[in-house]
């Protein structure tokens, strides 16, 4: 499989101090896809990315970037990187920062074209240190794409951006995908992954839990949400085995369940006047929560 992968990690183990950050982790990025890497804090997302970028060497396993070791510059000349919590020099201007980054690449985009594409014209000649948080993220994004990358790593790209800026950035991301650029995205905003990702990889505790399209991930999860208006009391329904959670919002009930059909039959039997019924499959957020908590509890059980 790795012959088709632009970048891959195979059986990676990495410990920091006594803690296993990655515990036999595999990942492959295909051409033209947006792969969203999801997982709770401490799942090993940033360790996995930093090994792919050559910032850390794995204890075991292998990593490749365009067929090269990530430490080799040849592979990294084909990628763009946007990291979290990087302070660029405040005295330089966005135009200068983009020109500096573009100089690292063999065939970068024109600096002015990048500025225009990300609507940075107004701030292009202002000291970077004087920009707002959202504008800074946009400049960092510009640095990531200015080298005409075939593979783009984006770590929480839209943190601190307002809605318009986020939409504008999503638009550019979609254009890049259309130009067959691959993207690895880590994000806390699940709606961002839902909106953009072709494929989602869910991590927990240093391992890959599952990977698939957003739809496939959702399908992994049998939970559904049933909401309705009813005269039945919440206390009465809480005792039912089908009910996992129940919320009562001013007479409108919301139940999470693994067996929606059985629940509905029971509800109609108890309350023929049941109204405003809505059955919804779990969103990515619920799926994600269920998947990662499953892994967590398996691990707990596995302990002697």
């Amino acid at each position: 499989m790795s012959t088709h992968a632009l970048a891959s990690l195979n059986g990676i183990r990495k410990r920091f101090g006594g803690i296993a950050a990655l515990d036999g982790f595999d990942l492959a990025v295909k051409r033209g896809e947006l792969l969203a890497l999801l997982g709770p804090n401490g799942a090993g997302k940033s360790t996995a990315i930093s090994i792919l970028l050559g910032l850390h060497a794995p204890d075991a396993g292998s990593a490749q970037l365009f067929g090269h070791a990530p430490q080799e510059i040849a592979g990294r000349r084909r990628i763009g990187v946007m990291m979290q919590e990087v302070a660029l020099p405040g005295v330089l201007r966005p135009r200068e920062l983009i020109a500096q980054a573009a100089a690292y690449y063999p065939t970068p985009y024109d600096v002015d074209a990048v500025i225009a594409r990300l609507q940075l014209r107004e701030v292009a000649n202002r000291p970077y240190g004087k920009l707002s948080g959202g504008q800074k993220r946009q400049v960092q994004f510009a640095l990531a794409i200015c080298g005409r990358p075939e593979l783009l790593f984006l770590d929480e790209p839209t943190v601190g951006m307002d809605v318009q800026a986020r939409e504008a950035l999503w638009k550019v991301i979609r254009e890049l995908l259309h130009e067959s650029c691959s993207i690895v995205l880590t994000t806390h905003y699940l709606e961002e992954a839902e909106a953009l990702a072709d494929r989602v990889a869910v991590m927990a505790r240093g391992r890959l839990v599952t990977t698939g399209t957003v739809e496939e991930i959702r399908a992994h999860v049998s939970r559904k949400q049933v909401s309705f208006s009813s005269t039945l009391s919440a206390e009465f329904m809480r005792g039912w085995p089908e009910v996992m959670t129940l919320e009562n919002e001013r007479g409108r009930m919301q139940i999470t369940t693994r067996s929606a059909e059985a629940l509905l039959i029971k509800l109609f039997r108890e309350d023929p006047a049941l109204a405003d019924i809505e059955v919804r499959r779990a969103g990515l957020a619920e799926a994600f929560n269920e998947l990662t908590t499953q892994v967590a509890s398996e691990k707990e059980e596995a302990r002697p």
Partner: protein, 487 residues
């Protein structure tokens, strides 16, 4: 998989160049860095070296401090550029980002080092301009070039020390730590205050500071008192530089920073090659004030025998007559005991219009028969206006050499119109800065005595001439001299 587009060599060079350019811009636009590093050396020089020096009528002070503030200026950019800004970039993630991006191997280090050298080049030029045009220190083009290269290449040692600091301390603590290294080392290496005036134990430990070795080389160039051979100093500096550099790189490597790219050994090999080139340059004499000889190395010996200046391979002068008297003007003539002189000369040959004349007068110092009166008129025109009377001990003026080694003191008597005059001794086989000694010629005769051990940078094996005269003033002057002797 599509094939990669190779990075053309021209673009790779351009990437290094752009990295240097933006590092330099960054430094220039950071007042906390640019102002102290660029302006403190020149400010201190003008205040302490030039203003205080001219108040005391002491050209040697302007000369000494030209060398030492140059070294002071060479310390700042490297120490702060690496020690502070690298620590901050490391902490704030920029170093990691650039490493994940295809920043060319070693560019982060190279750009900073070149930035530091450019800053030191600017500082050195500012100091030389102030020395030549404000303090009127006589500096030849060759000496200026030597001081410039000593400072600019010496900056690398402080880059390495800064890198070492930057690899250890946090960004917040780094300015304090760097200042704790910078300021005490500048003082202890004799950059602010000549080492000779410091307690003995401070003089004894001075060779432990890299700045000391750079300062000794620079002092040797301006003809001030210095000790040690050029080769020895260069060897110490290169060892300091490589040592700190390797320690820092190892430390950073442990933290996941490949400062030298994916193939650090290759880069270390290149760095060692560069270090060898510096050694070779110093051996060939480009970096010192002449070809270094192995015999120059022991500093104490060189200072004691007064042969600190190189050129020790050149033929020494004719042995001096045993009689200490050079000229006493008691035999009814202005003629010296040997050689040619005294000869009154203006500076017409140097493009000036200052004039000088001399006559024998009765009533010498200590009741002797005669003395020599020198009068003249000092006018601008020459680069260093000077007029007075000269003595040439041997052969053609300024060409024949006389060996005065082994003599301990040079003395003369003088009186005059109350102004400050200069006594000079021209030494060595090449035209360098002469020994300059200022004296105030008051109405009464007074004896002036030079302890030759204090002027060990001057080569008394090869003395070409001596002169008494006026410089650094305007208009007519008058003074008398008597009983010039060396014993």
């Amino acid at each position: 998989m599509s094939t990669a587009i190779a990075m053309p060599t021209s673009r790779l060079w351009a990437a290094y160049f752009s990295e240097i350019r933006f590092e330099f811009l960054k430094a220039l636009r950071t007042p906390g860095f640019a102002v102290p590093t660029l302006f403190f050396p020149i400010m201190f020089y003008l205040l302490f070296g030039v203003l205080l020096g001219s108040m005391r009528g002491n050209l040697q002070m302007s000369q000494y401090t030209l060398a030492t503030y140059g070294v002071f200026g060479a310390m700042g950019p490297g120490l702060f550029g690496f020690g502070v800004s690298l620590a901050i970039d490391r902490e704030q993630g920029l170093l990691r980002l650039h490493q994940a991006m295809p920043q060319p191997a070693g560019a982060a280090l190279l750009a900073r080092a070149v930035m530091a050298m450019l800053f030191v080049a600017i500082i050195s030029i500012l100091l030389l301009i102030a020395a030549v045009f404000v303090a009127k220190v006589p500096v030849t083009v060759f000496q200026a070039a030597q001081l410039f290269s000593i400072n600019v290449l010496g900056a690398l040692t402080f880059c390495a020390i800064g890198l070492f600091v930057g690899s250890w301390v946090s960004g917040q603590a780094s300015p304090a730590i760097v200042n704790l290294i910078f300021l005490p080392m500048a003082f202890l290496a004799g950059l602010w205050w000549p080492l000779q005036f410091m307690p003995q134990f401070l003089q004894d430990i001075a060779p432990a500071w890299p700045a000391y070795h750079l300062a000794q080389m620079a002092l040797g160039v301006v003809g001030a008192e210095s000790s040690g051979g050029v080769l020895g100093h260069v060897a110490v500096l290169v060892s300091f530089t490589l040592g700190f550099f390797l320690l820092a790189v190892r430390r950073m490597h442990g933290g996941g920073f490949r400062l030298l790219g994916a193939h650090p050994k290759r880069t270390v090999a290149i760095a060692s090659g560069a270090a060898a080139a510096v050694l070779a340059l110093s051996l060939s004499g480009v970096l010192g004030d002449g070809p270094a000889k192995a015999g120059d190395a022991p500093p104490a010996e060189a200072a004691a025998t007064g042969t600190g200046t190189p050129d020790s391979s050149a033929p020494v002068g004719v042995p001096a007559p045993a009689d200490p008297v050079i000229a006493n003007f008691d035999q009814g003539s202005a003629q010296a005991a040997y050689g040619m002189g005294m000869v009154a000369l203006g500076d017409e040959r140097q493009g000036g219009s200052s004039t000088a004349a001399q006559r024998l007068v009765a009533g010498g110092a200590g009741g002797t028969a005669g003395a020599l009166e020198v009068t003249g008129d000092l006018k601008p025109g020459a680069q260093y206006p000077f007029a007075g009377t000269y003595f040439f001990p041997e052969g053609q003026p300024m060409e024949g050499l006389m060996d005065y080694s082994g003599r301990k003191t040079l003395s003369f008597h003088a009186r005059g119109d109350g102004r400050r005059y200069t006594f000079m001794v021209f030494t060595g086989t090449t035209m360098g800065i002469p020994l300059m000694y200022n004296f105030q010629a008051g109405p009464e005769w007074r004896k002036y005595e030079l302890n030759l051990a204090d002027f060990s940078a001057h080569d008394f094996k090869r003395v070409r001439g001596m002169a008494f005269g006026a410089m650094g003033m305007d208009g007519p002057f008058q003074f008398q001299i008597d009983d010039l002797r060396i014993e």
